[in-house]
């Protein structure tokens, strides 16, 4: 009941999933948050439930920040006035501390995040997840059933070793009745800044995300090329979209973010119609 009350003020919730590690979930979650928060009239919240490897604090330039408690709960850490962030990273005394917890303890913290963080009124809640299909994923879907989840964005890279884990994630979504907004293919090609030649660093030997999406009747939201500036911006805690506005990767991200926004808005309209 407490959860329901807390989450009542959240209009849209998007989960960013993969199944495969290192494909760019956190990078994408952060840029989605930045992209949505560019509209100052929207209130955006970014929740990082990767308890073992919380990347969001670094990517958002918030390393070393602490979480404050107030009468109304835990305060998220604000990057902008309209962009708040919460991560277990903020609860660690040192960034190198390993959080070596078994499932039940992780579930407890996730529940606490949802119950005790005072987000206020939120237009978009974005949830960054760890790789896999385990405790964190089951728990977040379970706890968020108190509100409604617009859907999941699934991130992959083009090679079959990634796709085979991503197909499992898609099946997970079907199993727990989580709608899939679509798939994002990261690291999809590299254009050399010197000679402008395009290379496939991670060749799509089995047709990449495009073929997989066709086979599984899931939307392909877009493909994002590799740009070394992306990794640099993440390391430095800056928004890649702001640092490299002319990059083809930025254009891809912006298109994908717009499609996600449209999906959420449409969803909302349909719900309102039903009500």
């Amino acid at each position: 009941a407490e959860l329901r009350a807390r989450l009542r003020a959240v209009r849209h919730t998007v989960l960013v999933l993969s199944g495969k590690g290192g494909v760019g979930k956190s990078t994408f979650s952060a840029l989605l948050a930045h992209g949505l928060a560019a509209d100052e009239t929207k209130q955006v919240a970014l929740l990082d439930i990767d308890i073992c490897g919380p990347s969001i604090p670094k990517i958002m330039g918030l390393e070393g920040e602490q979480v404050h408690q107030s009468g109304s709960g835990w305060s998220p850490v604000y990057v902008e006035e309209n962009l708040g962030v919460m991560s277990v990273g903020f609860l660690l005394s040192s960034p190198d501390d390993a959080v070596i917890w078994r499932g039940p303890k992780k579930n407890g913290l996730i529940k606490q995040f949802l119950r005790d963080v005072d987000w206020g009124e939120v237009d978009y809640l974005i949830v960054d997840t760890p790789p896999g299909t385990s405790d964190e994923h089951l728990s977040i879907v379970q706890y968020l059933s108190a509100t409604h989840i617009d859907g999941a964005v699934i991130v992959t890279t083009p090679q079959e070793v990634s796709l085979q884990d991503v197909r499992k994630e898609i099946n997970f979504c079907h199993k727990v009745k989580l709608p899939i907004i679509g798939v994002v293919e990261n690291m999809s090609g590299f254009v050399c800044p010197k000679c402008k030649n395009e290379s496939q660093i991670f060749p799509p030997t089995t047709g990449g995300a495009e073929k997989m999406c066709q086979n599984l009747s899931v939307s392909l939201l877009g493909k994002v090329p590799l740009d070394p500036q992306i990794g640099k911006s993440c390391d430095r805690g800056q928004s890649f979209l702001a640092e490299a506005p002319e990059s083809p990767a930025t254009l891809s991200y912006r298109n994908i973010i717009q499609r996600i926004q449209e999906y959420c808005e449409q969803h909302h309209l349909q719900e309102e119609k039903i009500m």
Partner: protein
């Protein structure tokens, strides 16, 4: 138990491949390390304890293999050019490769314990244990289950950023 000790008793060195971060190349390295050691004439086995995203079977082209049991436990799948590398992965236990293994910690722990003690490895110079990203159930259970045996150490994999 005597049977449990027997399955790993013939393994001279156990090596864990860890990261913390996903997608840095743990499974790729585990596979290449096994192949290189085999090339150098060693008897090698690979234990893939990544329950949610088992990559090793595909990397060694045995994703369609099945495993069976013998008196001393699970019989590993033999891979590599001379079919001399012993491999065990949960990938082999899935009915359909796209099935998600959506298990909470306790169930994962039980399977890992079984994988560690119930595989008939035989005589090996090296057993390479490939792990999933993170520092959670799989890692705690694997280290706990391997502690009584010849645990050589861990190789940690990263990328530059």
């Amino acid at each position: 138990t005597l049977a449990e000790r027997a399955n790993l008793a013939g393994v001279r060195h156990i090596l864990l491949v860890l990261s913390g971060k996903g997608g840095v190349g743990k499974s790729t390295l585990s596979t290449e390390l096994a192949l290189a050691l085999r090339h150098a004439g060693k008897r090698v086995g690979i234990l893939d304890v990544d329950l949610c995203g088992p990559s090793i079977p595909r990397m060694l082209r045995v994703q369609d293999s099945a495993v069976h049991q013998c008196d001393s436990g699970w019989v590993p799948v033999f891979v590599g050019q001379d079919k001399a590398i012993a491999l065990m992965s949960i990938g082999f236990l899935l009915e359909r490769p796209d099935d998600a293994v959506v298990w909470r910690g306790p169930k994962k722990n039980a399977l890992i314990k079984q994988f560690v003690t119930d595989v008939a490895w035989g005589e090996l110079d090296f057993l390479i244990v490939d792990t999933p990203p993170g520092t959670s159930d799989e890692h705690i259970s694997t280290v706990e289950a391997l502690r009584p045996y010849q645990l050589l150490g861990a190789v940690l994999v990263t990328t530059p950023q």
